[in-house]
């Protein structure tokens, strides 16, 4: 990885994100910690979707469902820990693995069926599954139905890690994001990652060469679901609340927009996309309640003119500055 604008910008963004609690404390605006922790969590979700969308060519239109599943596991465990007095269910050491396992299992079932299809059918079937789980959440009165479930308490990790401390929770999310980026980086450059990318590039050829594509696509699907479930568990802790709304199809659409906005199939694209998405949302919505009216066209402009999203724009800028021919800079993918 050479030191280019494409790595400097995301690095700078990460450093700034790392300083948020410090800055928020200095200017006495604790509200910012809340805003930006949501950004970190959604960036994890978007990064996991990018494994499917950007590297695997799988347009999953139901990815927010894993946010919901991860969150609900935390919510439900917290509920029983108090209602039924089952103490161990309040433990983060139990909740987090359970959230990961639940989202992996859902990912396995949904993926195993969805990946039999291609193209528009795949988009529709992943959406359909997500809606099913959404309505399941709406339907279960016991867990609050569409009113959702308020957490009795955040995941407990013992004295050394108190998530009720908002800056602690923030840094947990921050480390989780760094971890997600690191794992993604290793994954997409491993043999597995190369196989996944080759399937996206030319599936027919990949099979002819001796790679049974289905099982690699499915594994990728399960990994993405699991990472997103982790983000969901963090989201429940951040919000102290879970509801079916977390997995509404528009949330899945938001995740897709974040990935495309930042740059599909690039390591830092989803992070940049999430930061861009949430900042624009925040700024526009402070001026007008019809902010989405302006947000839509803005997105279209970026996607049309900045091919490759924000990452593509940075790349174009770098080329302009260094006056490098495009082809030379393009061969450097995967980072």
């Amino acid at each position: 990885m050479t030191l280019s604008l494409r790595t400097i910008v995301p690095a700078a963004v990460l450093v700034l994100l790392g300083l948020v609690p410090v800055i928020a404390g200095a200017i006495d605006e604790p509200f910012y910690i809340d805003l930006f922790s949501r950004m970190l969590i959604l960036a994890i979700g978007a990064s996991s979707l990018n494994l499917l969308l950007g590297y695997g060519g799988m347009v999953s239109f139901g990815h927010a469902v894993y946010l919901g599943i991860g969150a609900y596991v935390v919510g439900i465990f917290s509920f029983h820990s108090v209602e039924d007095g089952i103490e161990w269910m309040a433990s983060g050491y139990v909740q987090i693995p359970a959230a990961l396992i639940a989202s992996a299992v859902f990912g396995l079932i949904i993926g195993a069926i969805s990946l039999r299809t291609r193209g528009v059918y795949f988009i529709m079937i992943t959406l359909a599954f997500a809606q099913m789980v959404y309505f399941l959440g709406v339907g279960i009165e016991y867990y609050g139905a569409d009113d959702g479930l308020t957490l009795y308490g955040r995941s407990e990790f013992g004295d050394w890690l108190d998530l009720n401390e908002s800056s602690t929770l923030y840094y947990v999310c921050f480390v989780a994001l760094l971890l997600t980026l690191f794992v993604s980086y290793k994954l997409i450059n491993s043999r597995f990652g190369i196989a996944i990318r080759s399937i996206k590039s030319n599936e027919r050829r990949t099979r002819a060469i001796g790679i049974p594509s289905y099982r690699y696509r499915l594994t990728c699907f399960v990994i993405a679901a699991t990472i997103c479930g982790f983000a969901g568990a963090l989201l429940a802790n951040r919000t102290d609340f879970v509801s079916p709304d977390m997995m509404h199809w528009t949330r899945s659409g938001d995740l897709i927009i974040m990935v495309v906005l930042g740059g599909m199939g690039t390591l830092f694209g989803p992070l940049l996309g999430t930061v861009g998405f949430l900042l624009v949302e925040e700024i526009l919505s402070s001026y007008t309640e019809y902010w989405q009216l302006f947000f839509g066209p803005l997105l279209i402009l970026i996607v049309i003119f900045g091919k490759g999203g924000i990452d593509g724009l940075i790349q174009a800028l770098a080329n302009l500055v260094e006056r490098k021919p495009k082809a030379a800079a393009q061969s450097r993918d995967g980072a």
Partner: protein, 246 residues
């Protein structure tokens, strides 16, 4: 090496493969010729496992592979190339070949070690590129290679899977004389080591390379024999070659 029995494939009203029997002997170059639409590509698709046959069995290297998938046939040593160039356009030439090496170096459920600096993959990839004369073009992104080079790359990818047999669908398609000549040389250098089923329209290449030829017309194999026998065959001349070829 490859024994095809009673192979059939229909597309609606069209019989693309009509009760075909072919027996490819180990080590030979067996050419299949026939007019456009004769069903040559369909036959390759069936043999490579990409397309299900209606009926028929395929024996490869002594075992029945009729029910095997495309990827497992490849793993058993049956490699193919495509009539319309099928490569990974956004990968470099070497990455294309390295992927083929990877596919045959155990499973790809390896999630951590960087693949693109793995000597186990790069070394054999280089060797395969050298075999087809693309060593100097290793770092070029495939979409920037010339048409002829892309065709050579297809062969290198097939070779990198260390096949016992190659199914080649018109490897010279769209090539100039110079490029075709190089391809003939490449295939000649493989002769004996790897059994080859060669589909080709370029008759000069076919007669230069083939040990035996099967003629396919309307999905039916109407004749099989040595190049001389095929040249002399009346049915073939009428159906396909035309008198000026004799």
């Amino acid at each position: 090496m490859l024994e095809v029995k009673g192979m059939q494939k229909r597309f609606g009203g069209i019989v693309a493969t009509d009760n075909v029997h072919i027996d490819v002997v180990k080590g030979e170059i067996h050419a299949i010729i026939g007019p456009n639409g004769a069903g040559k590509t369909t036959l390759i698709n069936q043999l490579s496992g990409e397309m299900k046959s209606d009926t028929g069995t395929v024996l490869f290297d002594g075992s029945d592979i009729t029910r095997e998938s495309a990827s497992s046939r490849s793993l058993l040593g049956l490699a193919r190339s495509f009539q319309i160039t099928s490569i990974f356009q956004d990968f470099t030439a070497e990455d294309n070949v390295a992927l083929a090496v990877q596919a045959h170096d155990g499973h790809s459920f390896r999630f951590w070690k960087p693949a693109r600096s793995d000597a186990r993959l790069r070394q054999p990839a280089r060797t395969a590129l050298e075999k087809v004369g693309l060593a100097e073009r290793a770092d070029i992104v495939a979409s920037n290679l010339s048409h002829g080079e892309q065709r050579q790359l297809e062969i290198a990818m097939a070779l990198a899977t260390q096949p016992k047999m190659l199914l080649l669908d018109e490897p010279m398609a769209g090539m100039g004389t110079l490029e075709s000549g190089r391809m003939v040389d490449t295939l000649k250098s493989l002769k004996g080591d790897i059994t080859i089923l060669l589909i080709e329209h370029d008759m000069d290449a076919v007669f230069a390379l083939a040990d035996r030829i099967t003629v396919l017309v309307y999905g039916r194999a109407i004749a099989t024999g040595s190049p001389d026998e095929i040249r002399a065959n009346e049915d073939v001349r009428q159906a396909y070659l035309g008198d000026d070829h004799a």
